[in-house]
Symmetry: C2
Subunit: 154 residues, 2 copies
């Protein structure tokens, strides 16, 4: 599975916490020269361990104060519904995540909007407007207990 050693894991852990850290500083933290770090970084990126880097923004500050999860059931008699639903969801900017799940429903959608009225609009005009959507259950988040934790690499 993984041919990465302890140093690689340390690098990944540090980079998850601070993706913009300078190479020299990262080198100090893991006890290697900046050059070696650079080579390891390039390898980790080439082999697909690191997919990219991103800024973590504060949703509240950007007027996206409401986080919602929506369970969606599709009408499986219509053909193409899954593909069409997936395509539409990828285009909707409010949708941060969408997963096809095994269990009582078909898709679990995670979306961020400004407030409840914005959500009503999104639900009616984006989600339920799609053909083949048979049922939906909305769960509004009251408190985010844990948000976007780093992957355990240790």
């Amino acid at each position: 599975m993984s041919d990465i050693d302890k140093i690689d894991r340390k690098i990944l852990a540090v980079l998850q916490a601070d993706g913009r850290i300078a190479n020299v500083e990262l080198a100090e933290k893991v006890g290697l020269s900046p050059t070696s770090i650079g080579e390891r970084l390039k390898r980790l990126q080439r082999d697909g361990y690191i997919e990219g880097y991103g800024a973590r923004l504060n949703p509240q500050m950007l007027g996206l104060g409401l986080l919602v999860f929506v369970e969606v059931l599709l009408d499986k008699t219509t053909p193409d519904v899954f593909e069409r639903f997936a395509r539409a969801v990828r285009l909707a900017p409010e949708v941060l995540e969408c997963h096809m799940v095994a269990g009582g429903f078909d898709y679990l959608v995670k979306a961020r909007v400004a407030d409840m009225s914005a959500y009503r609009r999104f639900l009616g005009e984006s989600l339920l407007a799609l053909p083949g959507v048979r049922e939906s259950r909305t769960y509004a988040v009251m408190e985010e207990v844990k948000r976007d934790a780093p992957l355990p690499v240790g």
Copy 2:
């Protein structure tokens, strides 16, 4: 609410897509000098729009091939259950997100584990072992249609 202008939004959009971009390159993209970009960045960070930077890792490559969502119901007769549950969840490395929701259940947990047997262990030893957990429903993800989309800043 937001006193950030179009240039700030552009900066945030670019940084979400590539958090490790060089300042000079970012400056070219938004049509400003690197010095000004630096000042804006510092302000965006100080005011809390940018909470940090992180590397995006590939869960599969790290042996975390299974993504699950768990709906958890708590026994509200026991005191402190919410606080204790929240504390435990924050400490569990498998749990990437946990939200208290309004609706048919109390908490929605998002977790990544190696496989089903690892999940069984996590569910039994970490989640259900907590006092006050009355019921849980697990939904295993079969396909990740949309993953970690950037926040709409436009």
